[in-house]
């Protein structure tokens, strides 16, 4: 690519299985990095937070979108953030929330972390491009 490197924030609002959003976003993210651009963060919002569960076990001959995303984020050192309000409603919690709400377990998959919408606002204010991957139904 001859164009200068830009920074991206990717926002995923569609869940795996209910939508194709996590898949399309992953293919786009790989292409973004391959072209020499930087991904500031991947922000999971609404039903998109289901992607951060560490308990999904699809049949072994099917893609595991959560696994694939986690591997990508780790390899490329890209922060993955699930919106705290969306996540709490939908039962995606880290150890802090587990303790605070006295829940029987936590289920967020590393390297995903939980944070507020401020992370997304930061993307809107500072990333060169904010690209949304919504559900299509």
């Amino acid at each position: 690519m001859s164009s200068p490197a830009l920074s991206f924030t990717l926002v995923i609002t569609g869940a795996p299985y209910s939508t194709q959003a996590p898949q399309t976003a992953l293919a786009f993210a790989r292409a973004t990095v391959a072209a020499g651009h930087r991904i500031d963060r991947v922000f999971l919002y609404g039903d998109g937070v289901y992607l951060a569960s560490n308990l999904a076990s699809p049949p072994s001959d099917e893609a595991n979108w959560s696994h694939q995303w986690r591997a990508f984020l780790e390899e490329k050192a890209v922060p993955g953030v699930a919106c705290i309000a969306s996540a709490l409603r939908r039962g995606i919690v880290d150890d802090n929330e587990k303790q605070r709400y006295e829940l029987p377990a936590s289920n967020i998959a590393a390297p995903f972390s939980i944070a507020g919408l401020g992370e997304w606002v930061e993307g809107v204010a500072r990333s060169d491009r904010v690209i949304y991957f919504h559900g299509g139904n």
Partner: protein
């Protein structure tokens, strides 16, 4: 590569209300990129698309929809990234 004003990314099936909303906001300097079920538009006989139209190859191949170059420029994810950079603004419908 000429820049264009807005890249509209459309992943909705042609019957979805959002499909129509997106088309009604297109102007001549814009480009339309069909992804996911949006590529069904290329097989839909009730539809005519005009202007700069792109469609994701992977989604067409998955659905066995012929890559009709007279309707849309067929592109891969690398070119999708390039499109988001060429556009001044990107809207995902």
């Amino acid at each position: 590569m000429k820049p264009f004003h807005t890249l509209h990314i459309l992943n909705k099936r042609p019957g979805h209300p959002g499909f129509k909303s997106c088309l009604s906001c297109l102007e001549s300097r814009d480009a339309l990129l069909l992804t996911e079920n949006g590529v069904l538009a290329l097989a839909d006989k009730g539809l005519t698309l005009e202007g700069a139209v792109y469609a994701l190859s992977a989604d067409l191949v998955a659905r066995a929809i012929p890559e009709d170059a007279s309707i849309a420029n067929v592109i891969d994810y690398d070119e999708m990234v390039a499109l988001t950079i060429r556009a001044n603004r990107v809207i995902s419908w």
